[in-house]
Each structure stands twice: as C-alpha cells, then as structure tokens.
C-alpha cells in the first residue's frame, strides 16, 4: 500500500535540504572567508579530540621518561651554556646590523624592514588528514597564532598556518599539493615558483623554467618574498634533479626541501610587525 511504499521514516526531503545546505556551505567556504568564525567556534569543543588522541602517546612518553636513566645534566648544561653564549653574541651582532640596515633604508626613503617575531610550537603527535601534508602544532588562538602565518624551523621554511583552533593550529607543509611558494635561486638570482607535489613524496617541482635558465643541481633556493606571503631570503630547498624533455621547452626540475618535513618535531611561527620603530 501507499503507506508502506512511501514510509515517513525515510527523510528524503530533509536529505535534499541538508545536501543543498552542505553544498552551499562548501562553496561559500571555498570562495570566501565568511565562515572562518564558525570554524573557530566549532574548533573550541573539538580541541578536546586532539587532547584525547594525544593522551596515550603522552602517557607512554611520561613512563619512558620516568624509567630512563637521567642524562648527565652537568655536561648537558655546560654545552647548552656555551651554545647560548655564542647565540647571544650573534643576536647582538644581528641587532646592530638591523639598526644599520634600517638607517640606510631611511636614507634611501625605502620602507623599514619588517620585524619578525617567532613563537616556538611543538608538533603534536597526531595525524590529521591522510590527503594532506599537514601537521598540528600546539599554539593556537590563545597564543596569538593566526591564519596565513608562516612556519619555519632553524633550517628553513616549513609551511603555512591554514587553520587556527583554540590551542592548536594546522600547518600545511610547503610540499602539499595545494601549496606554491615564490622562490629565488641564491646563486643566479633567477626567480620562479615552487609547486608542492602532495601525496607521499616531500618534494617541490619548478615547472616554469626554460632550458636557457642558469641552474645547476645542488643550487640553493630561497624564498623571494614576492607576493608578500613568505618572508624574503629564507632557505627553502635544494635542486635535486634537472631533466630535459626534448618535446618540452620547459625543464622538469625537482627540489628537495631543506627541512626534513617527514620528521618535524617543532616549528617556529613567524609573526610580522610592520610598524615597529626601532
């Protein structure tokens, strides 16, 4: 009978409405940033999930730490002290150079160099998305992290902050399939783009260089600062392979990031202060 054929428990109309709604949300979120606040709001209760997911690892490490014989603290302390002193001197030198540079820039009427501040962030022991090359770090909205922030480590550029949650943030690595970074060859000054490849390979491709470009294997690529997203002059990758395909006028260049992105343990989040008068 009709009653059983069109059973009221099957929520077809509701499904239609929900699908349209979810589709609209998808399009709006891809095209605009109107829903960023919704995302942030949702992220507050959801950061509990991260805490729970990390708990077993944290307990394991705690037990491990308790069972391990203590390292020679005196030796380690002396070593770190020496290193600290060296770095302190280096910092003073850089400060002086920065001041001098700013003075020179003001003589030239150029804008003052942007001042960077860094914040240390630990990479959390969770894996968020097998489609993406991204990691979760333990600094978030509360610590002043923001979307679009650049993540580096002591070797070079790591990636970009793509989503900020309450006390964590997601950093998309520069080898992810959706990421591109403006680069410059340190040796020859040639500018180009590095395109992330995604999947399971941590490499960049440089598809826009012609055969007559001045490029060699082993060349260092630094960020060019074009577009203003990434800071200028940070090391990014080393040219690993240059292949010439006779049918193409462009070279097939592969570059390997300097930072070991597979084994990332910590990052530094750069924040830019544009109007620092010093």
């Amino acid at each position: 009978m009709l009653g059983t054929m069109f059973d009221a428990t099957v929520p077809t109309v509701r499904w239609f409405v929900v699908s349209c709604l979810a589709g609209a949300i998808l399009i709006v979120d891809r095209q605009t940033d109107w829903l960023d606040n919704v995302r942030t709001l949702l992220s507050f209760p959801l950061s509990l999930v991260y805490v729970a997911a990390e708990a077993p690892q944290a307990i394991y490490q705690g037990v491990n730490w308790a069972l391990e014989p203590s390292i020679d603290t005196e030796v380690a302390y002396q070593k770190l002290r020496a290193e600290y002193a060296g770095l302190k001197v280096e910092t003073l030198r850089i400060r002086a150079l920065e001041r001098e540079n700013n003075e020179l820039r003001s003589l030239l009427d150029a804008s003052k160099a942007t001042r960077m501040e860094t914040k240390y962030a630990r990479v959390k022991d969770i894996s968020v998305n097998t489609f993406r090359q991204q990691v979760v770090v333990d600094k978030g909205l509360i610590d002043g992290a923001y979307e679009g922030q650049v993540a580096i480590d002591e070797m070079g550029i790591v990636g970009l902050v793509t989503e900020v949650m309450a006390n964590s943030a997601q950093v998309r690595l520069l080898t992810d399939g959706d990421v591109a970074i403006p680069l410059m060859f340190e040796r020859s000054g040639v500018r180009t783009m590095g395109i992330g490849q995604g999947g399971s390979n941590y490499i960049l491709k440089l598809p826009f260089l012609t055969r007559n470009s001045d490029i060699r294997e082993g060349d260092l690529l630094v960020s060019s600062g074009m577009g203003g997203r990434y800071p200028e002059g940070y090391p990014v990758a080393i040219v690993e392979d240059i292949a010439e395909i006779s049918a193409h006028s462009f070279l097939e260049i592969t570059a390997r990031p300097i930072v070991e992105l597979e084994k990332l343990a910590h990052v530094l989040l750069l924040s830019v202060n544009r109007d620092v008068e010093k």
Partner: protein, 163 residues
Amino acid sequence: MNSSTNSSLTGTLPIVVSIFIAMVLVVMKLPQSFEAWRPDWVGVVVIAWAIFVPRVCGPVFGMLAGLAVDVLMGESLGVYALIYAMLAYMANVINFKMKMFKLFQQALVVFGLTLMARFLLVFLVEVNTEIFTDWLYWAPLIVNMIIWPWVYLVICNSMYAVT
C-alpha cells in the same frame, strides 16, 4: 514531560560519546605503515546509528558529524558534511533490511556505502586524481568491513544499557 526530556538527553549521550571516540580514532597517530589502512571510523559510526535509530540519526545528524570532521581535518567546511549526510540517508533508507541481515551481510553493505563515500571524497577534496589508481587508497574499505560488526554491536548494546 520532565522525565521524557531527561530520557531523551541520556538517549543522545551514547551517540555523542561514540562520535567523539570515532573522531579521536581518526586523528590518533598510527605507525606509518598502518596509516593508509585507517578505517573511516566516523563514517561507520554514522551508518550504525542511522540504521539503529533512523528517526533520531538522519541526514542532519550526518551533516553535523561531518562538519566536526571538516574542522578536525582542516578540510573545507561541507566536504564531510555532504558525505556523511548521504551515508546517513542511505542507511536510513535500508535500515529495515539491514536489521534483518546477518552481521557479515551488513558488512558487505557497509563496504558498498563507504565505497561511494570514498569516491565522493576524491571529487570534493580535489587532490590529484592519481590517487585513484593507488590501491592503498581503497584499503580503508576492507578495514571498514572488519570493524563494522564490533561497532554495530557496541552501539546497539550501549543504547540498551542507557535506556
């Protein structure tokens, strides 16, 4: 009146808790070689609830779970919402049949449902479609089948235990 609202609250508790546990399992770190085999925990739990209590857990429930997963994974809002709304609806439609099925027959249906979900995922996420040809991309479907009976039994029993 008061007692009925109270019982509906305790009734939704197992749903929320199970989705929470599923989300934890989705982001938990696994050894690198197991990473590709990680099942779609939230998808399977959504199907189980949509079969077990179709009047409560329909497309809206699927969408809400999906939005949470979108935030968790840093994916565009709406990707998993669309997928899980579809899963919940389909499970609603076949819930009578599924309740009659044996567990292994149910597991086969779950394989089919999550297969569709996975197809949809590639198109919505728009990562390079080379991933299609990698058989490991489909590996989670097998694990979905294996975890299905346990998830379903736990979910049925949790509801009986609460109410």
